[in-house]
Amino acid sequence: MSKLTASSFNLRDRFGDWWDVATPVQKGAFRVAIIGLFYALPLINNPIIDTPETSFDSVLFYPLIMFSLMAVGLNVVVGKSGILDLGYVAFFAIGAYTHALMSIHTALNLWEIIPFAMGFAMLAGVILGLPALRLRGDYLAIITLGFGEIVRIIAINTDAIGGAMGITDIPGPTSIFGIEFTVMDPRPFYWLTLTLLLLVIWGVIRLSHRKPGRAWEAIREDEDVAEFMGVSTLKYKLWAFIIGGAVGGLAGSIYASQIRSIQPELFTLNLSIMILACVVFGGMGNIWGVILGAVLLGYIPEKLRFLSDYRIIFFGLLMVVMMNIRPNGLLPRKKREHFQEKSK
């Protein structure tokens, strides 16, 4: 009986069966259709998917696609490598402040600043990671949580970067490929972030299927044994941190260029936890699950307004419930196995 329910609910395997036998043309068509659908979302807005209070276009940019980007970044750390990072918001904040300060104080535009934003976030990843990653899981969680809060407290207490008032009048991106970025229209920002997200996904999938992906998984499964098998665990954990940080910094810089004014209060622990909830809800370690989680958790509270006031309550509860009943999330990272007859 339990077997029946298990198989009837296993959409993932159904899809996997189809995917295994699909021709390259079918696979390509499927990919194009899904990606096309995402690009078309702002254009096919209709009352069914529209959000009641915030405009659908801005919901698409934040939280939906921003959450997705950050969740994919955090997933490298939490899902792939099993390192619980509770201070992910710090990387996002570093990216946002980098853009805010550099775009005001230098002649550089967003496109030129992005490498700096990612670079500083990566640097922060190294500075935090080198000492912290030597520690065991729960200590690491506390250290990263503290780090996230400390970055915010430092921002509040440092007048040179605006203190608690933050930074206003941040320049937006200059036009690129003929696309204008204006305060009024969030759609170009959505398309921009979606494009970058696709690039990041491409990179992460590539890494996942190769040596780094195996090293991360081995660390997640059993860190001591990974070390016994010759994996430099510190190095790969640090890489996970750096990559996660870079993606967070990237997201932050674009975010700052869209909302045009930032304050430390935008970067609270709550945001770290919301992104973590997306990862946990969707399926730790599975990039598609994580995006599904981010899309759902970004969208649902906007659609159902009564939920949005209770967003964090709901997210907190969700984390407890998911861990207890479906610890691997909506779309578990389970790989599909291929059985072969014994060749004798």
Partner: protein, 258 residues
């Protein structure tokens, strides 16, 4: 003279006030199957944890192929040529059998993360070689038909063998086996014995911790006996079988009572 691939010299290990190993000397020669036996709690697994760098000895030295490895991190020692298995199986459960082996094989190449991301030729080559090596080792160990199954879903015996394949992927100078026959039936034990010999014939020296005496006696070239953290005997299987000291240790005869 035969080459000593692994040498444990005057190792002392103390945890708090407890002495786990007291002046232990061991070695493994090229091309031999050495065994380490002793009653439960004698310190056998501690020896493995010392030589693989998980614990640092209080004093003494460990040499791999003549080079001291004390103080190195475990992954470096592994790359210098020590592969190990575990008493309680510790596979990467959510990875396939081939990936388990490839993870260890990976650590011997120098491809970096950026190379993997960009897909540079060297990374592609290393990637291909690691996978080929994984499949070759799985075939050697008789698990090629399981290559794409998750390690956690394999039958018990296959899991034990997969651990051996994974350790072999490090091209170890010495393969450390921690109770590989635990939980095996007599038939499986015979097959395991053959496998270990096959591994030796392939050119790997083996250091074996095992409780099954018939297996140990049958395949070992040399046996060392630990009791209460001290080496109490060493020699060929026949010598060990006839040693009163060893028999007493196993029967639990207190030293002062003899």
């Amino acid at each position: 003279m035969t080459k000593k691939l692994l040498e444990v010299k005057d190792i002392v290990v103390k945890f708090g006030g407890v002495t786990a190993l007291n002046n232990v000397n061991l070695h493994v020669n090229e091309g031999e199957i050495a065994a380490l036996i002793g009653p439960n709690g004698a310190g056998k697994t501690t020896v493995f944890n010392i030589v693989t760098g998980y614990y640092t000895p209080t004093s003494g030295d460990v040499l791999v192929d003549g080079e001291s490895v004390v103080g190195l991190r475990p992954y470096k020692i592994a790359r210098k040529g020590l592969g190990r298995t575990f008493q309680n199986i510790r596979l990467f459960g959510d990875m396939t059998a081939a990936e388990n082996v490839a993870t260890a094989a990976d650590s011997l190449n120098k491809s970096g993360l950026i190379g993997s991301l960009l897909g540079v030729p060297r990374s592609r080559r290393d990637e291909k070689e690691a996978m080929e090596k994984a499949h070759e080792l799985l075939k050697f160990i008789g698990l090629d038909h399981r290559a794409h199954q998750m390690a956690k879903n394999l039958p018990y015996g296959d899991q034990r063998r997969l651990e051996i394949a994974r350790a072999l992927a490090l091209n170890p100078k010495v393969l450390l086996l921690d109770e590989p026959a635990a939980g095996f039936n007599p038939q499986e034990k015979v097959e395991l014995g053959e496998l270990i010999r096959k591994i030796r014939d392939r050119g790997y020296a083996v250091l074996l911790i095992e409780h099954d005496m018939s297996l140990v006696m049958k395949i070992s070239d040399r046996i060392s006996v630990l009791d209460f953290g001290q080496k109490i005997a060493e020699g060929k299987p026949e010598e060990i079988q006839n040693s009163q000291r060893v028999i007493d240790a196993y029967l639990g005869v207190a030293e002062d009572a003899s």
